[in-house]
Assembly symmetry: C3
Homo-oligomer: 340 residues x 3
C-alpha cells in the first residue's frame, strides 16, 4: 500500500448561465479545477533512476457516472522512467500544450477566456482534453537553469500502409522560469491526411492539411499583482488556409492573506468572416486552507454574427436547434474546491 | 494518502428465484447491502469548520463491469462544508428518502418489502437509486437534542426558459432518535411539467402533475426485539389523480450473540384497479465479525391481477414477453457481506 | 484504510506489427502483463477462518478509458471465506484455466503462442478474459503436499425453465508443484444448448454441443534453464464434431542476474481443412528492481490457407474487409512493466 498514493480533487459549483432564451440553473463539477481521482507512485531503481506511474481519472461529481466514465474519462495514465536524463513515459499523457494554465490568470478551465476561445477554434493548446494524448511517448528534459523542454508524440494508430501518420499528434514545448518571470513556448501539430481513415481517438476531417499551432505565454509577478498573457496562432484547424489567432491578458491580485482577484480578457481574430469572439472573466478565490478553496466568478462571451460560443447555457435554440449566433453567453458560478 | 480513506462493501449471494415458468439460478451482487468502493476524507479548516468529500461507486461484484459502470454507477459524489451550522454539500447526494432503511427490519434493499412495493409505484422514498439526486444541493442540520433535519434540491437542468424546474426534485426529512425510540418523516416531490423536455437524469413523463410523496416511519427497541414500521403515500407518480399507499411492519429479534432474525410484511393500496401487491421477507443474519456477516433469506411477492412485481426471476413471459401478472415471485438467497 | 491494499500493474509498450499491407505503429497497454488497478483485503474471523475480498479492474493505459471501462473491464471481483477447508468465493473469478501461464515460457498474454493459438480456436483455457467467469462459485482446496485442486461453476443466468444451464461454465483443475517439477491439469466445459437464449455474459452459438476442453501442462527447472510445455484438446468449440489440438514447448534461460531469455514455439492441429497455425515468440526481460521490468520481444504467427490470426496489425484487408489468410503476423515490442 505504501507503493501507492491515492489523490484527487472534489470540486463542485452552483452555476447560472444565460444565452438568449436558454437559461441554465444547476450544480456542475469542476468549476475551479476538474474533479478527479488518481493513483500514483514511484520506485527507486538505484543510480538516480526511478520508475514512476500515474493513473488519473476524471469525475463528474454532480452526475451518476463511475470513475472515468463521463467527460474526460482518463486524464492521464502512464508508466515511465525518471533520471538524470529527464523523464520518458508511455501511455496517455499531457501534451506540452496542457501547461498553458501557467500563463492564464483564470486557471479555471471551463471559464478561462483562453480555453473558451482557443477550444472553439479547434486548438490542441488548451489545458483540457484536446491536450491529452492517447498512445503517446512523452519526453521531459531535466531543469537546465530554469529551462525545461517537453515533447510528446501520439500515434493515432491508423492501421494501414498509406496515411499511417494520419491523426498523429506531435508537440514540443519550452518553459523558462526565473524569479518573477515565466515564459512558455509551444508548437503542436496534428496530421490530417485526405483519405485517411479516421479513428475514435483523433477524428480526422477530410482536409488534407496538417493543423499547426504555435503559442507564446508569459507571466511576471510584480508582488502587488501578477500579470499574465498569451498569444497563439492556429492554422488549418478546420478549413484550408485558415489562420486564426487568440490572445488574452490578465492578472491576479492578492487582496488579503487568503483572497485573490483573478481577471482575464481575451479575443480571437479568425480568418472566416464574422467569426471573431471575445470573452472576459472575473473571479474571486478564497483559501479556506492549503487544500480547500471557495470561489465565485462571472464570465461573459461575446459572439460575432457567425459564432455561438457558450459555457453553461445551451448554444442552440431549444426548439429549432438553430445556432444562437451574435448573442452573449453570461455565466455566474459559486463553488468549493477540495484537493486530497 | 492520509487524506483519503478507501472503504467499501463486497457482498455476493447465491440466489434462486421463480415466477411462473421463469426460474433464475445464479450468483448476484449485494444481497445484504450494495457492493461499493468509496474514497472519503475531511480536512479541519479551523473554527470548527471542516471540508468533507465522498466519492462512492456501485459495484456489480458478479459481473464484468468496472468501478461505477453497472447498476447504480455513482452512489454518491460530493464536496461540502461541515460546521456548527450543520452540513452543506454539492454533487450527487442522498435524498432524505434514502434513510428509510432505519425503519425497516429488512434493511436489505433488493429484498425489503418496503423497497420492492414502493419502488414498483415509482417512489423516490426508498433506500436505493431513486433517492440518489444528481446536480444537488444538500443541507443537514446539527443534532437538536435527537432531532435532525435534512433537505435536498436536485436540478434536472432543463436548459430553457419555460419549464425550467421540470424534473427538479425537492425533499425534506426529519429524524428523531431518543433512547429506544426513532421516528422519521419525509416529504419528497418531483416536478413533472407537461411539455417539459426530459433529460437523462430525471426522465419526465408527459403528465403535468407534480409527484408528491409523504412517509412516516418508526422503530422501537424493546430489547427482546425491535419493532419497525412505515406508512407512505405516493401521489401522481404515474397517472393524474393517483394516490397510492404502502405500509410495512416488521421486527428484528436477536436469537444469539451473533444471530438475528429479521421479518417484515408489507402491502400496497393502489388507486388503479387490481394493482395491489403484498410482500413478506424472512431473513437470518449471522455476524462472523464486526465487518463480516453471513445471511440467508426468503422473500415472496404476491401480485394482483394487474401487477407483476418480481425480484430475481424475470417478470415477463420468456417467449411472448407478456407480463406475468397475478403470479407469486419467490426468492431464496444465501450470501456473505464484508465491509472494508 | 488499513483494511484495504491498493495494488496494480502499469505496463505499456511501443509496438510495431505487420500483416500483408497492414502496418501498426503505436503505444499499447499490457505487453508483459495486463495493466490493472486492484483493491483487496482480508479479515481474521478467528478459528483460522478469514474473510477475503478482491476487486481488480483492467486498464487500457494508452487509451482514454476509465477504471475497468475498456477491454477486460473487471479482471476479478469476489468475496469469500478462507480456512482449513480451503477457499470458497462468490463473484467474478478465475477459472482453473487461467493459471496455464505457469507452464508457458512466454507468460506475456498477448504474445504467448499458447494464448494466441488456443484463443483463436475458442478456448476457455487461456490466461485471459475467456477464463474469467462471471456469476461464479469458486472452490480452492488447501495444499495437500504440493497438490491443490480448484473448481469453478459460472451461471449464465438464462432465466427460463428449459435450457437453464445454457452457457454455464464448469471447470476443474489440479496443480502439483514439488521442487523443480510442476504439473497442471485442467478440464473445462461450456454448455451450448440449441435454442438457448444467449446472454451478454456467455454468448451462445446455435450449436447444441457442449464445448469440452482438456489441458496438460508441465514445467521443470533445470537451474540453467526452465523447460515448459503444454498440450490441449478443444472439442466442439465452434462446429459439431470438431476436435482441435494446441501444443507449445519453450524455455526460460537466465542470462545474467537481471536478464532472462524466453522462447516458445506452438502449433495447432485443427479439424477443419487448411486451418492450422503456428507461432513462436522470443523475448528478453530485464529486472530493474523487484517491481519494475523492461522487456523487448518479437512474435510471429504463421497462418494456413484458412486462418488469419494476427496480434498488432489488423487481420482483414483495410479496403475490402476480406480476411488476410495465409499471411504471417509479425510483431515487435519494447516496453516497461511496473507493479505497485
Amino acid at each position: 500500500q505504501s507503493n501507492v498514493t491515492v489523490y484527487g480533487v472534489a470540486d463542485a459549483f452552483f452555476g447560472y448561465g444565460k444565452m438568449d432564451d436558454n437559461k441554465f440553473t444547476g450544480v456542475e463539477s469542476g468549476g475551479w479545477a476538474g474533479s478527479r481521482l488518481g493513483f500514483k507512485g514511484s520506485e527507486d531503481l538505484g543510480n538516480g533512476l526511478k520508475a514512476v506511474f500515474t493513473l488519473e481519472y476524471g469525475l463528474e461529481l454532480d452526475d451518476n457516472e463511475g470513475v472515468g466514465a463521463g467527460g474526460p474519462r482518463s486524464r492521464q495514465q502512464f508508466v515511465g522512467l525518471q533520471g538524470g536524463f529527464g523523464f520518458i513515459g508511455l501511455g496517455r499523457q499531457y501534451s506540452p500544450g496542457y501547461y498553458v494554465f501557467k500563463y492564464d490568470a483564470i486557471n479555471v478551465i471551463p471559464f478561462s477566456p483562453q480555453f473558451v476561445l482557443a477550444n472553439a477554434l479547434g486548438s490542441n493548446i488548451v489545458a483540457a482534453t484536446p491536450a491529452r494524448v492517447s498512445n503517446s511517448i512523452n519526453y521531459k528534459s531535466p531543469d537546465f537553469g530554469g529551462l525545461t523542454l517537453n515533447a510528446v508524440y501520439g500515434f493515432n494508430e491508423v492501421n494501414q500502409d498509406d496515411n499511417r501518420q494520419a491523426g498523429d499528434l506531435a508537440a514540443i514545448g519550452a518553459d523558462y522560469a526565473n524569479g518573477p518571470l515565466a515564459i512558455g513556448l509551444v508548437y503542436s501539430q496534428v496530421k490530417q491526411d485526405a483519405g485517411a481513415i479516421p479513428s475514435e481517438k483523433f477524428p480526422v476531417t477530410t482536409a488534407d492539411e496538417t493543423k499547426k499551432e504555435a503559442y507564446l505565454g508569459a507571466a511576471y509577478d510584480f508582488g502587488m499583482f501578477k500579470l499574465m498573457g498569451s498569444y497563439q496562432v492556429i492554422k488549418d484547424a478546420t478549413l484550408d488556409e485558415d489562420s486564426d489567432k487568440v490572445w488574452q491578458l490578465g492578472g491576479v491580485v492578492p487582496v488579503s492573506s487568503a483572497g485573490k482577484v483573478h481577471l482575464s480578457y481575451g479575443r480571437t481574430d479568425a480568418d472566416r468572416d464574422d467569426s471573431d469572439a471575445a470573452a472576459w472573466s472575473l473571479m474571486y478565490s478564497h483559501s479556506l486552507s492549503k487544500r480547500t478553496l471557495a470561489y465565485v466568478g462571472y464570465t461573459q462571451v461575446q459572439n460575432d454574427d457567425a459564432t455561438n460560443i457558450s459555457i453553461l447555457a445551451k448554444r442552440t435554440d431549444e426548439i429549432t436547434g438553430a445556432p444562437l449566433t451574435d448573442e452573449d453567453s453570461r455565466n455566474f458560478l459559486i463553488g468549493v474546491n477540495h484537493s486530497f
